[in-house]
Amino acid sequence: MTDAPLSPREEDDALAAEYVLGVLDLAERAVAEARLKRDADFAALVADWEVKLGGLNDGFDEAPAPNLLPQIEARLFPKPAPAAKPRHGFSFGWLTGALVAAVLALASIATLAPPRPELVAQLATADNRLAYRVTHFGDTLQVTRVAGVPAVAGQVHELWIIAPNANPVSLGLLEDQPLVITYPAPPEGFTFAVSVEPTGGSPTGAPTGPVILTATVGAA
């Protein structure tokens, strides 16, 4: 096999394959994902590789899956919030089949939140020296540091949310305690970002310091 360098087209093809295969590191993957969204030709290469490498799918065995439909449907088809929202967990473990449908109907009277907060995004450096976990439960968004330490004295980590084609909006500061705010579950395509700002946060309402972490909800 020759050692001739790859042509630009082959480079793109190889990158698309690497992306589907999953071998790229976090930074390279983020770049490929951003490209996927704006470059239709690249997206087509990726789709093609998904089918080609799909020939390996017989290598995956099946595994028993619990019925997670109630939780999935609670995320997809949430009931509108009544005035009071009970926070007690409600286990679906004892319900089966038709009873689940009846209980979901009753949920319009008393909202039954899914028993677990759902993971919305994970913001982490490639080596996991710093990581934040973003979860959503009911009408609350929580951001918890799961690795690393807060910014040094004189600085603070600030969390931003960026809707597609919009300016970043600050969600608050990430200090010692988890950030807990009332906020709807962000849709796919929205991006979280963490920047380093002076103590007290950005003075301008926009990020002024370096963005050190990003994660997109439902990326690619």
Partner: protein, 177 residues
């Protein structure tokens, strides 16, 4: 070609919730298998499974049946999410019990007869040198990164990159011939 999974996905695109439930019943075992193998932890896999089907519902309108089978599209979503989670900072499990016995290649071979895509892949795969084939499989089935693969095969990172890129392009040439 008969593809009931593709039909169910099309119905999900039309907001058919009964079809979504049927899709879950028929495909969750396979997707759970994918997630469990790559994420290696049941709680994480179950959490990921919920996110996978959420994406399936939201993206059903983007599935193009002329481009590939329904199950292929579902597995691509599951793998993509699993890789996101792995690269976002979970410790790599590069060598935890990863002997080739787990690759279930012999079992896979016997099931390939029915499916054209899988058979062609098996044939083309056999044209790769065994170490390179192992690397591609390690990445695809176990979610190994370049770093993991370079360590596992005891070669420099750039060597592994070159191996994989050339192997992938070679596979593509073979599959398209």
């Amino acid at each position: 070609m008969d593809d009931p999974v593709a039909d169910m996905i099309a119905k999900c695109a039309a907001a058919d919730r009964a079809a979504f439930r049927a899709l879950y019943r028929d495909t969750s075992a396979k997707l759970m298998g994918v997630l469990l193998r790559m994420l290696r932890e049941r709680a994480e896999a179950e959490d990921a499974l919920q996110e996978v089907y959420t994406r399936v519902w939201v993206r059903a309108g983007r599935y193009d049946p002329t481009k590939g089978r329904g199950m292929t599209w579902l597995i691509a979503i599951a793998r993509n999410l699993a890789i996101d989670r792995l690269r976002a900072g979970r410790e790599s499990h590069s060598d935890d019990g990863l002997d080739t016995v787990q690759d279930s290649a012999p079992r896979a071979e016997s099931r390939l007869v029915a499916k054209g895509e899988a058979r062609r892949m098996a044939d083309c795969f056999n044209t790769l040198e065994s170490e390179k084939a192992d690397a591609v499989k390690g990445a695809y089935l176990n979610g190994l990164s370049y770093l993991d693969l370079a360590a596992r095969h005891a070669v420099p990172l750039n060597t592994m990159r070159t191996w994989l890129r050339r192997s992938l392009l070679k596979l593509k040439e073979c599959l398209e011939s």
